[in-house]
């Protein structure tokens, strides 16, 4: 039975050709897929091609090195700025690209193929600027977006040591003094940036109803970047602890009103979660690419690849394509201006679970080679794991989805009771 690699219609990247050249027998495993006519416009396909090119040029060659060092490749920020990826969701009037969510997802998937750590820097940058996008005044937007357009990264600081899945554990406070707020507390697992949206309690007695969102410039006195987290995966993504010691923030940097923080945070996460799904699809796609490359190089006679392996490869493809479409669906819902919370949670969960399953299946297929740093698959496994954890664990996504389901049964009470 022939696996028909030569005429299959994989949505493909050019990674193999640039990273390892052609196989010795001259076969190219993944012919370029001409189009994705179902959903993507020709403009989106063009953007996809250029993102693929960006990934192959700037990310694939350096990803392993920065993963090993656990350092962020700073130069990528400038390249991303030039490519328009830093401000892709920022409106044109502020100098951004104003791309649709679907198009942004297409880009993140391509970046995820190259390195989920770098894709994270870009997607968290988005998460960081969604808050002003949602709740900022024009002046705040201009203040916050300009440095991003000019080549800075933004970040999103919600998580605290005692407030992971449960934001109610937040302890960071913002006390109003004159025309300033003074912030104290600490935030952990924060992807570092030049600018941040920081959440703090303006009225601790009200719990989450007292949470507010502030825009804070990186390098402000009182904002201490304390420790770079040494992580299992996305090791090149710069994850730090932020300590806020009498951090003075002008009152004009409050987003929305006092107490709007939770709403802003949740809406930001609703927008960001499908992006996690998109980069996860990229991780999974890379794992399949690597498996095919391995079989191309290892098996001169593809007919010797038995059904067990063929079916595994087919399962990977089925899962990837399913996840890709679910993610794009959620993003299309967003672009249509419809409520997105549940679709967003589903997209994040399906995307990240797919990345995890496909990468671990790839690891099982490739044996000791896949387990070694000779091969990118072990990195993909490590990178996939965080996708199930950050921007709301997949358990939290289920809480969100279940709450909505139960709320539809008992609109009055269930939504609040199902939490937890």
């Amino acid at each position: 039975m022939n696996i028909c690699l030569t005429n299959s219609q994989f949505l493909c990247s050019c990674i193999w050709e640039t990273a390892s050249g052609r196989s010795s027998n001259g076969r190219t495993c993944r012919p370029q897929r001409k189009a994705d006519p179902m959903l993507l416009t020709s403009e989106q396909q063009e953007i996809q091609r250029s993102a693929r090119n960006f990934t192959n040029t700037h990310i694939v060659p350096i990803a392993a090195e920065y993963d090993l060092k656990g350092e962020f490749p700073e130069f990528i920020v400038e390249e991303a700025r030039k490519a328009g990826y830093l401000a892709m969701g920022i409106p044109k009037q502020f100098g951004g690209q104003d791309l649709s969510s679907v198009t942004q997802g297409v880009i993140l998937e391509e970046l995820g193929i190259g390195c989920a750590g770098i894709a994270t820097a870009i997607s968290v940058n988005g998460l960081g600027y969604y808050a002003p996008l949602i709740a900022g005044t024009d002046e705040q937007k201009k203040f916050y977006f300009t440095p991003i357009v000019e080549g800075g990264l933004s970040s999103f600081a919600l998580t605290e040591p005692s407030a992971g899945s449960d934001v109610r554990g937040a302890k960071t406070t913002a006390k109003k003094v004159g025309d300033e707020y003074i912030l104290n507390g600490s935030k952990c697992f924060i992807t570092n940036g030049a600018f941040a949206t920081i959440f703090a309690l303006t009225d601790p007695s009200k719990g989450l109803k007292g949470l507010s969102a502030f825009i804070v410039e990186g390098g402000s006195p009182g904002l201490v970047v304390s420790k770079h987290e040494n992580k299992l995966g996305i090791r090149c993504s710069n994850t730090v602890e932020l300590v806020l010691q009498d951090l003075h923030v002008p009152a004009s940097h409050l987003l929305g009103k006092e107490g709007d923080g939770m709403k802003i945070a949740m809406q930001s996460l609703d927008m960001a979660r499908p992006m996690v799904g998109a980069q996860s699809v990229g991780i999974a796609q890379r794992a399949l690419d690597e498996c095919l490359k391995y079989f191309r190089d290892k098996y001169p006679d593809l007919r010797k690849i038995g059904q067990a392996i063929q079916f595994k490869l087919a399962d990977m493809r089925i899962q990837i394509e399913t996840a890709r479409q679910i993610v794009r669906h959620a993003l299309a819902v967003k672009d249509a201006g419809l409520p997105i919370t549940v679709d967003s949670a589903i997209a994040k969960t399906v995307g990240s679970d797919t990345a995890m399953r496909v990468t671990t299946d790839a690891l099982a297929l490739l044996g000791a080679y896949g387990y070694s740093s000779d091969c990118v698959v072990e990195k993909l496994v490590r990178d996939a794991k965080i996708q199930q954890l950050y921007e709301g664990t997949n358990q939290v996504q289920r809480i969100v989805i279940a709450a909505q389901l139960l709320a539809s049964l008992q609109p009055q009470t269930a939504a609040t009771k199902a939490g937890g």
Binding site: F295, G306, A308, T360, A364, G367, K385, L389
Partner: protein, 374 residues
Amino acid sequence: MSYLLTEEQQLIRMNARDFAKEHLEPRAVHLDKSDEFPATTIKLMAEHDLLSWFLPEAFGGAEVGYLSYVLGIEELSKASAAVASIIVNHMSAAYAVNRWGSAQQKQRHLPALIKGETLGALALTESGPSVGEGPNAVIATKQADGFVLTGNKSFVANAGRAGLYVVFACTDPLAGGKSLAAFLVDAKAEGLEIGLKKRMMGLRGRPIADVTFRNVAAELLGPAESGVAMCSELLSVLAIAEAAQTVGITAAALEHAGKYAQQRVQFGRPIGAFEAIQTMLAEIATNCHVARHAVYHAATLIEQGEPFSAEAAMVKLFSQRLGMHSLLDTVQIEGGYGYSEEMLMAKLFRDVSGTTIAESPMEFPEKLIAASIA
């Protein structure tokens, strides 16, 4: 489960546990970070009789059987799966010598393997589609006074540190893998070259490298015509021991995540009080329990001289699922902390992946299991 174990076996398990707690656990993180071969630890283990297990008393071995062996490996793996893996590979080579060696070969190698003067290694995997196929396959050529090997083995555990290699090589290039035979090769033999140490995702501290043979003198081990069956038997023994490792790591991860779930408070209570977390913990505990007993059963079959290849394959298949699924969940339970390399769980996750990987994509356990059902 203690009804299964004799007092001696319980004692052996306890001893292994104590040794692991005292000598392996405190060094496990350093071993992972440095990726340096734990030479003094291995020497100490020899002194504590932890390199002999089932090997006969006649050569200085403990001769306590295979069940005791897997009990020990499970305990060692809880503290340091890398060290346990070094031992498992060593014991696989020793198994081959003991099982198929001539009286003379046993006398020459077993005492040294037992005393830890010689570390054993198993060289099987090749870069071709399967062993014996591909341009770099190791070929054994008969000479007047024995055999010489030429070719390349990849991902050989204990490479560079081993004194004795058990190598499976083809005696007939045309017949490929069908002509496999086992050979003993002295690490000091001329023409044997160890490649660069590989960086692996986990089990760091256990050296892995390619081994190149250029006309290396080799001694036939066992009957040349039985090589395929020998290889399959040895892989089954290895699979059972690796499954014991998976069980050990999973048990350690479960204990760690269980404690974390009791301490970590979110939504006003320890996360362990949530049914979602309880479900995950219960699933892992159940699978771990089932896998453990399947491992003990398979080891008992070896001990009693019964056929064990299907059971070994089942244990391998099940532990593959157990290890990966469980550790993905224990990392998930510990959240951002589980993902941090400053904490234990990330290391356990990287380690478990290494105990469940296949020798080659073509050799999956389902094949052997299906073959046994006819």
